[in-house]
Symmetry: C2
Subunit: 188 residues, 2 copies
Amino acid sequence: METKLTVREQILDHAITLMMLRGYNGFSYRDLSTLVGVKTSSIHYYFPSKDDLVLEAVNQYSDAVMVGLQSVDPALPARDKLATYTKLFGKTLGDGDQICLCGMLAADIESLPETVRQAVQAFFNANESWLASVLAQGAKEGTLIVKGDPESAARTLFAALQGSVLASRLFHTKSRLEDVEAMWRVAR
Amino acid sequence: METKLTVREQILDHAITLMMLRGYNGFSYRDLSTLVGVKTSSIHYYFPSKDDLVLEAVNQYSDAVMVGLQSVDPALPARDKLATYTKLFGKTLGDGDQICLCGMLAADIESLPETVRQAVQAFFNANESWLASVLAQGAKEGTLIVKGDPESAARTLFAALQGSVLASRLFHTKSRLEDVEAMWRVAR
DNA sequence: GTCTATACGAGGATAGAC
DNA sequence: GTCTATCCTCGTATAGAC
């Protein structure tokens, strides 16, 4: 049973996909117009300016990721939580030509308004604090390696994951994310 | 004694700076025209198309970084080599609003021709293999932590550094790079 | 080498009819 | 809500004078 998407939802979905591919400055209302099948003026009806569109796109993307994080079984050992997270992150690659929307917008941040910067920061903070708690759990269990405090370790881990999707796409390979995960895992 | 830069050199320098700020799709010949003080048609004289310009920019940037790597004293302990490298990486941040050119172009890669992709890949490979040899040395000395083979550890380290400059700029802070370095350093 | 002039499509945005 | 029509600026690029 497939749900019909409203025009508004289609616009938002395609905007997210396009930005994960080419970034904020690399797509246009015309592109969306072609993909959705409505005129650009109709898109302006829903999203008066491009900045409005981006902000909503980030929020929708962010909400979806948060739902993904909350759906991870809290009873799992930390190592398995990290494996799940890495797999989630790998899915953002899509057909191998997309990267995390918020990683992309972090690259484009100097072209964007302050509101978007705050939304992207919030995304980073949420992911890093989720990872920090997983690392803390892993340290207790002895299943994950944590050097220093979990917070700074989590920032480094998240940065490594963002950098790895970038490199994965650059080299047309998927293996780089697994290298990262292995780095934090205690050898069995 | 200051060296006068040719117009060509000025164009290239400003192009690099602008791309480190806003990316490939975020700057124009007009921007360069204003900064250098020549008309856009003169820029086309030196660089017929924007792709030509980007390719030369990457090569110049890459060459400069390679010189930086070669100038690191081979006699240094691995830990100090890594510290030097991290510092070099931190300098790319400039006034806090720039990121590594090749990290930026990796984000923009789907808008760029194959030639540029290869140049950016070469930059990644060179940095990763330099880091791999430093990690190998550090493992021998016992000054750096290396999990698994040095090559995959180096890829993760490089990804973490790229991700960290991105986050540093996003949050207007410089400390994130040091977190990364500390992660690979054996506690004394 | 650098300029003026110009072409031409892309891109964001709005007014007003339906 | 969606369209047509239109505006105006930006962006890459070229031709040809100096």
